[in-house]
Symmetry: C2
Subunit: 470 residues, 2 copies
């Protein structure tokens, strides 16, 4: 995850209200119910049980694989068992790929193996591997400016470190190397791309992840290198002799195939056609069990809906939980969901997604018309005791949600502490032990406040214009 479709800019000016509904304050009664729900969430370990179930009984579930199919079946069964009114799937088409082995070793002057992982959908090396000299670049921008002569026939090594921050904002500048690096290297005639992992750990795990594959005629093999291995290569190169490496990888690309967005609803009692969408993505990368990315999110939104379904009456409008397919490979499920649901866009009152791991929520961002800020302020009365502060109005709602935000749909962002998120992101080390049950409880408590109030309140949020990325 963590791949917003949009680069949102402009703040309040850009997000001036176009909604025409009257701003009505939330009813005191609704706030009281939300408070009860919050405190029930804090007392329940059910979200942890859900992510435990997903990681143990399904595990890795990369889009288009058998694990993905098992996850789709698991999600439907789980939603039914949790008391959702309406559980169904919507088919999507996804590109498919088989990850084979990926081996790398320095051949000279200091022969030793390197720990690597294929970047998503990379082509294989030629049978038997390829051997070439390494040429290092501090970042993808420098590679883009390099002369083809520097790169031709060599293994381009992008060696940019990521900064560790609570907001995760170190990710954006560094992930460019993953999305654009292979193409940049290929266009200059490189034999392959080696990328210092986009991550903040110093463990010997390479971080996989998707590359942009648009308009690339002659893709080259692309691999991530663990941080300790990137350090090792850097230290070898610093000794001044040419460093030669051998890469051997046997992935395979297939024709497109089916996957599914999985949907479960708590049907509204008065305006069932009006929908609040909360989501997470069901797919994961294939080397971990996808506990943080995005099993935790799946558990948080499922448990949020379950708590609301337990109320004696249904909320005013429909709460729809969408578990998007194929997020990791480019928001594939979300884009196809939007295309299939354009006709109901006006009825989607707001969107939000949980897809930043399992850290405590510390900030509440929104994307609301200005005349609805007081509703966010009222929500804050119940969120503040959870240790959550009011953030900005530039939320994009989470990666998959951003496709709706681009259409003017309001959004909420319950921002998790992401300090450690990129230690585990897209590695084999994304496993259940990284999820702290007490954090999940706090997450669900915040989600249920936001989701219940947005589903129950009178009136809606109107629309919010956005500036699309060029």
């Amino acid at each position: 995850m963590f791949k917003p479709l949009l680069s949102l800019t402009g703040g309040l000016l850009a997000t001036a209200a176009i909604g025409i509904a009257q701003a009505k304050p939330l009813a005191q009664e609704d706030l009281s119910v939300a408070e009860v729900l919050r405190d029930r969430a804090l007392a329940s370990s059910n979200a942890y049980s859900i992510v435990e179930s997903l990681t143990v009984e399904v595990g890795p579930r990369r889009a288009g694989t058998q694990g993905d199919q098992r996850a789709v079946a698991w999600a439907q069964e789980k939603m039914k068992s949790l008391g959702f009114d309406n559980v169904y799937t919507e088919q999507i088409e996804v590109p498919r790929w088989t990850r084979g082995h990926a081996h790398a070793q320095v051949i000279s002057p200091y022969p030793q193996p390197l720990v690597v992982s294929s970047l998503g959908y990379s082509v294989a090396t030629p049978e038997g591997g390829l051997t070439a000299e390494i040429v290092e670049f501090p970042d993808v921008e420098t590679l883009l400016e390099a002369s083809p002569k520097q790169v031709k026939g060599k293994i381009a090594f992008i060696n940019k470190r990521m900064e560790k921050k609570r907001t995760g904002e170190g990710y954006g500048p560094v992930v460019q190397g993953r999305s654009k690096g292979m193409r940049a290297a290929a266009e200059k005639g490189a034999a392959a791309l080696l990328l210092r992992s986009v991550g903040t750990d110093s463990d010997r795990f390479a971080h996989t992840g998707m590359m942009s594959l648009d308009n690339i005629e002659n893709p080259i093999p692309a691999l991530a290198l663990s941080a300790p291995d990137a350090n090792l290569l850097e230290a070898m190169l610093n000794r001044g002799k040419p460093v030669e490496a051998k890469l051997d990888m046997d992935n395979q690309r297939h024709s497109d195939g089916p996957s599914f967005n999985v949907v479960g609803e708590i049907t509204g009692r008065e305006n069932p056609e009006e929908v609040m969408i909360i989501g997470a993505h069901l797919d994961s990368w294939d080397e971990g069990t996808g506990a943080l990315d995005d099993g935790a999110g799946v558990a948080i939104v499922m448990e949020t809906a379950r708590l609301i379904a337990e109320l004696p009456v249904r909320p005013r409008r429909t709460l729809r939980v969408v578990l998007y397919g194929a997020e990791e490979i480019g928001l594939v499920g979300a884009k196809q969901y939007l295309d299939a649901h354009r006709q109901e866009l006006d009825n989607i009152v707001a969107v939000s997604e949980s897809d930043f791991g399992a850290g405590k929520i510390w900030r509440f961002d929104t994307r609301l018309p200005e005349n609805k800020f007081d509703i966010a302020d009222q929500m804050m009365q119940l969120l503040a005791p959870l240790g959550i502060e009011r953030g900005n109005n530039q939320s994009y709602g989470g990666p998959d949600s951003s496709v709706f935000v681009a259409e003017g749909v309001p959004a909420f962002g319950l921002y998790q502490d992401g300090t450690d998120y990129f230690d585990y992101h897209h590695t084999p080390n994304d496993t259940l032990d990284k999820v702290k049950p007490e954090n999940l409880r706090q997450n669900v408590a915040a989600w249920v406040v936001m989701s219940f109030l947005a589903t129950e309140m009178e009136g809606n949020f109107g629309r919010v214009p956005v500036e699309l990325e060029k």
Copy 2:
């Protein structure tokens, strides 16, 4: 590392003096020189450069491999460049083994891959792998008591957790599963052994390490499972259905071959035949770069000797740095070293080894006759400012050193903080980034105090009797 030959018991009673040399206090002049050396050590980053050089230019160096050969060449060259008087190798014979791939996956009821690593010198699975049901045991003792009927044809899974402690004392009880587990399972007709890694981390790395291979007629494949994977298997088994797994591993055992203990000396000016031996082991496991185990130790003892060699005069007796070969596979180099040097045992005044990572030294243990305790007290005057406290008199001097201790040779133990040591021990994650330069400085400062004073002091420590393990 961390495999004492002896289980030392008895404390002071068992270690009463048999030495006949008079107890002489250390000369004030010698203490002054030691203080200067200590402060030079604190100001030097040379030990870090040495472990950097070993891990970058050599990397993995399991006994009997090409990496091992490169390490032997590296060590000789490095010792010469550091100004040792006398650098040489002594050949040893080591059992050899090739690590192939090791794959494991749950087949049913929840198919997903598991992260494993072959235990050292394990046999391969039959071609194409083996599939069998998992049977779980809380520890090797329970497996030893199980009826063959429970185990026959199954994969025995030992699932004992290790406690994290500064002293590393959680290791002893748990490592029994690794040393004895395969034999116990084989004798009951198991198809294979799966061992929860002997480690204190929760990262998806399996910890390899040696098994006892004595007197095993029909060895079976034996693999370590990472902690998250052991949790996963436990959670599957807790669901009550039979869990079936497939293991596929293609290791190969070879005939014995040569390796080497590498030795470098600072020759004594008055009694060169009298020797203080400080050591570390040169070999490592093959999945990391052996930075902590035992590159740090190699660097600490080399830099200790270098600082002493820089003095305007040589110390009274010889300081011998021994880099033992093949420690990891059963103290092979140390045992052969002892056999080759029995005739000079009486001239080995004391031994010590650095083989517990790169944490700060916090305790000074000894194994001295009681009438030499005052010398340790004098050493403590210079060690205490480094944050080191006086420990006990039951040191075994380090794993390789324990072969000398078993012969009555006195020993010193500069005990490192091992809190995190078993997070990385015998995993791919044992890499240079885990070594903190400031800790190495403090280590060398302590080592140079102890080594210089033991090499320079008048008189010797006599002998210390030990109780051998039955």
